[in-house]
């Protein structure tokens, strides 16, 4: 299970901008080359064990890769490469 610490670790590794609005989830905004390319929610509250299993769906990555990213085995560059290939992010020619 991905928890809040995992979600926050991914947000840090992706240099995400955290936006707090009205809902119970803050928005982690991910940018690449000046483009807003993806987002995911981080639940507010003090419970570090809150489930964040919605994150993989929102950033188009498997739960396993999200966990490994949070544990520093893979990072932003790996994610970008996969997203360019998937068409989620425009590459050099986009």
């Amino acid at each position: 299970m991905l928890n809040k610490d995992d979600a926050q670790a991914i947000a840090r590794k992706f240099n995400a901008d955290i936006v707090t609005k009205n809902s119970t989830h803050d928005i982690a905004k991910i940018f690449y080359r000046g483009r807003f390319v993806a987002q995911f929610g981080i639940r507010r509250g003090s419970n570090r064990n809150q489930g964040h299993d919605h994150v993989p769906h929102e950033i188009h990555w498997s739960p396993n890769k999200c966990k490994r990213c949070a544990q520093c085995h893979i990072g932003f560059d790996d994610w970008v490469a996969e997203m360019i290939e998937a068409g989620v992010i425009a590459g050099d020619n986009g």
Binding site: M1, V19, K21, N22, S23, T24, H25, I27, K29, Y32, G34, R35, F36, V37, A38, Q39, G41, R43, Q50, G51, H52, D53, H54, V55, H57, E58, H60, M83, G87, V88, I89, A90, G94
Partner: protein, 144 residues
Amino acid sequence: MATEYYMDAITQTPYHANSFEASAYPYNANAPIAASAVAIAAPYISSGSTLLSVIQTLDTPFLVKQPIQVEIQRVDDAYVASFENANLSASGDNWIDALTNLKGYLTDIFDELIESRDILGPGLRHDLEVLEQFVGKHPDAQQG
């Protein structure tokens, strides 16, 4: 074998995928949520099962242009509600919590994507196009 329950779009009543028998505990996703509703609703999803629900209203000033189908799944001890077509998901401690959180999150994201329309990457541009088919804002609210 996973047991699937679905939410009737009209009556907002959960029913079993095989029996199609209406549950004894109807749930209106747009009504205020009582603690007792959470207590009786939680057992409906077992791990690996999916519940379908429909969002038909959002908080003012947002409008639902057409019903938004939501999939709710249990993942370990948490619940994830997803609007698959727009790549939006939110978590909660029970499925009603997850659905309620998604409704709030969806409107926040809608505003964020509208404000950032000119700098969206291809993925989020697609998500916004989908979202705009389902969600709008009351005309009076768009002035400000």
